[in-house]
């Protein structure tokens, strides 16, 4: 579970909304994403739908290139962002979607007639067009039409470069005094062409490439891709490898959640709390280095197992250190959560309802904070989660405070999971004899895991070559970002940093695709000497 080969349900393009609402009636109420495929003379669309209790259905339809498909926003409100993505990447239009006129991920100056993910799009040609004289890539906030809000309103640009953001992203806030009337997100500042680049590399190299989608949940990207590829190969990792994967995945969750908890302090101007939480988190970073050999990009997963075993002595140290961490973490979080000022700054801020969360197809802690126990680890257990004893932490109010509670609770659950893994590590050799370098037979598979920020979805299609034919990644932040924009309305500027970031956004994960880089053939190689020269000049 958690991954599987794809069995398509076929539909005609014009029947799509009807087919979707039929599936919805059968319980498939969560739209994971829409995958676009280049099928030669037509564009394939796969709608991935999930049941809250487990089970995924894949609805497929083929639309002629440059044609139109009916929009699904009538059935799934959150579908419009995925339709915009397909529109950007494949040039397909969705009739009925009001946002077809603007870009989601690509820059506004990107040439209309060169959808990047079509197989015959030549990066060199795109480059020429992008760098042609007269192409202007500057984007301003939509200042026109402000008067429809109120005469006193002004547009405050929030980002792309802003002290509250770890990564570049833009929100145009329409404010009247301190109150926010509207928030318009614009994403796509960190496109790196990962999906396109993945089609040009071998499966083994892809694991490392996909890990670099995100610096925080890097292991989950590698893991999810590997799970999908293992399904295509009909391969099962040894039990010990599954346990080690789970161990690293849970350590990653702890470090991601603690980072967010610290940043909550930073976002509310309480920088001492940030420093204290990060001090505690250092233990986990050391553990990750101990287990995987690296602090950030763990690179421990490989096709058919893991790359490093965790032997007895190391395992014992993991168990020892995690218990110390639990003590320090619960004391610190207990102190902070009992602080009146903290409760005042977070309670009731950015509140949203369970209906909003479901309709916008949100995932992860954001969904669980309104009492919906949607957790892939429980719904479709993968790796060793089936053997572990843990409960899904849920909140009841859907605001920043209950998100803090949910994430802090999940850290404690993860600590207990790590303890169980240390105690019950099965014997055997988890490292495959040699790295996988072969060909994958044709087919398509998906995998989904519960990354720290929520459900992470990978789709892999093989055409029987050394490299995949199509890789599609849906990160949790893309599913959650619309909720942040929704929750911003009516808040005050003081709460903007907290509300935008309550979904624990990872903007770099959300934006993945840029063509100008891929295969341009020319790149400037900087040597160490160059670096030293540049450093002296500055």
């Amino acid at each position: 579970m958690g991954a599987g080969k794809i069995e398509r349900i076929e539909a005609e393009p014009r029947e799509l909304p009807a087919a979707l609402s039929r599936l919805r009636g059968e319980g498939y109420s969560h739209l994971i994403t829409i995958t676009g495929l280049d099928e030669g003379d037509s564009i394939g669309l796969i709608y991935h739908l999930a049941r809250p209790g487990g089970g995924v259905a894949h609805l497929h339809a083929s639309v002629a290139k440059g044609g139109e498909a009916p929009s699904a926003i009538g059935v799934f409100r959150g579908a419009y962002i995925y339709e915009m993505e397909v529109h950007d990447m494949f040039g397909l239009r969705f009739s009925g979607n009001p946002h077809m006129g603007r870009r989601l991920l690509l820059p506004d100056c990107y040439p209309e007639d060169e959808p990047p993910l079509l197989k015959d799009t030549d990066p060199g040609r795109v480059r020429e067009k992008l760098f042609a004289p007269g192409t202007v890539c500057l984007q301003g906030p939509p200042v026109s039409g402000l008067s429809r809000y109120s005469p006193e309103s002004i547009a405050v640009p929030f980002g792309p470069y802003h002290p509250a953001f770890k990564e570049p992203e833009h929100f145009t806030l329409i404010v009247e005094g301190e109150r926010i009337l509207d928030a318009i997100p614009r994403i796509g500042f960190v496109h790196r062409g990962v999906e396109k680049a993945a089609e040009q590399r071998s499966y083994l190299r892809d694991i490392f490439l996909l890990e670099r989608i995100c610096g925080i949940c890097s292991m989950h990207h590698g893991l999810t891709f590997t799970l999908a590829v293992e399904k295509l190969l009909g391969l099962e990792a040894p039990e010990r490898a599954e346990y080690i994967r789970t161990l690293v995945a849970e350590l990653e969750r702890i470090h991601s959640h603690t980072l967010w908890l610290g940043l909550v302090g930073y976002w509310m101007g309480f920088e001492t709390m940030f420093m204290w939480v990060l001090t505690v988190r250092e233990t986990i970073m050391d553990l990750i280095e101990l287990v995987s050999g690296n602090r950030v990009h763990k690179s421990i997963v490989t096709i058919g197992g893991v790359r490093r075993d965790v032997e007895g002595e190391k395992l014992r140290r993991v168990g020892e250190k995690i218990r110390g961490f639990e003590k320090e973490f619960s004391r610190l979080i207990g102190d902070i959560l009992s602080l009146d000022e903290f409760i005042e700054r977070t309670s009731g801020i950015g509140s949203y309802t369970a209906e909003d969360a479901r309709a916008l197809s949100t995932v992860g802690p954001v969904r669980r904070a309104v009492g919906d126990p949607y957790d892939i680890r429980k719904v479709e257990p993968y790796c060793a989660y089936g053997d572990l004893d843990f409960k899904v932490v849920t909140g009841d109010r859907g605001d920043v405070y209950s998100l803090v509670q949910v994430r802090a609770g999940e850290v404690l659950e993860s600590i207990h999971m790590v303890e169980q893994i240390v105690d019950h590590m099965p014997p055997g050799n988890p490292v495959p004899k040699r790295p996988f370098m072969g060909v994958v037979k044709p087919g398509e598979a998906y995998a989904r895991t519960e990354a720290p920020r929520g459900e992470l979805f990978h789709y892999v299609r093989s055409a029987g070559k050394h490299s995949p034919d199509r890789v599609k990644v849906r990160t949790p932040t893309l599913a959650n970002i619309m909720l942040a924009a929704h929750a911003l309305r009516g808040q005050t500027v003081s709460d903007v940093p907290l509300v935008i970031t309550m979904i624990d956004p990872c903007f770099s994960c959300m934006d993945r695709v840029l063509v100008a880089d891929a295969g341009s053939g020319r790149r400037r190689i900087l040597t160490e000497a160059d670096f030293h020269r540049m450093r002296r000049r500055w």
Partner: protein, 116 residues
């Protein structure tokens, strides 16, 4: 109120226990469990270029390295050179090398200083 008191206690404790950060330059730059950096031993290398083909970052370039005897003939051979500015230090090259010519050395490249 309890929270404010606990906070005060935490703050005094933090002052008394001293900083956890370390002044630059730090002690040993590489922890014992770190993956380290790949180092090529050209003596052991047979020039199969498996490392260059599997390198995720494309940081390995095969450069001409004289000639090698294969049977009776002398053939030109190319050997890997690692560009450490492109390297992602994943250690895959060391894993795939059939002759163990690439090893992960327990040291690291510091960009911000020469004499550490």
């Amino acid at each position: 109120m309890r929270g404010a008191l606990a906070l005060l206690v935490d703050a005094f404790k933090a002052i008394l226990e001293g900083p956890v950060t370390r002044p630059y330059p730090p002690g040993p730059a590489v922890e014992e469990e770190a993956r380290g950096m790949p180092v090529v031993d050209w003596e052991k290398c047979v020039g199969c270029s498996l490392c260059a083909r599997s390198c995720p970052a494309g940081a390995i370039e095969m450069v001409p390295a004289g000639k090698m005897r294969v049977g009776k003939r002398e053939v030109p051979v190319r050997k890997p050179r690692i560009d450490y500015m492109h390297c992602i230090y994943c250690g895959l090259c060391a894993e795939v090398c059939p002759r163990g010519a690439i090893t992960m050395a327990k040291k690291c490249l510091l960009i911000a200083g020469e004499n550490i």
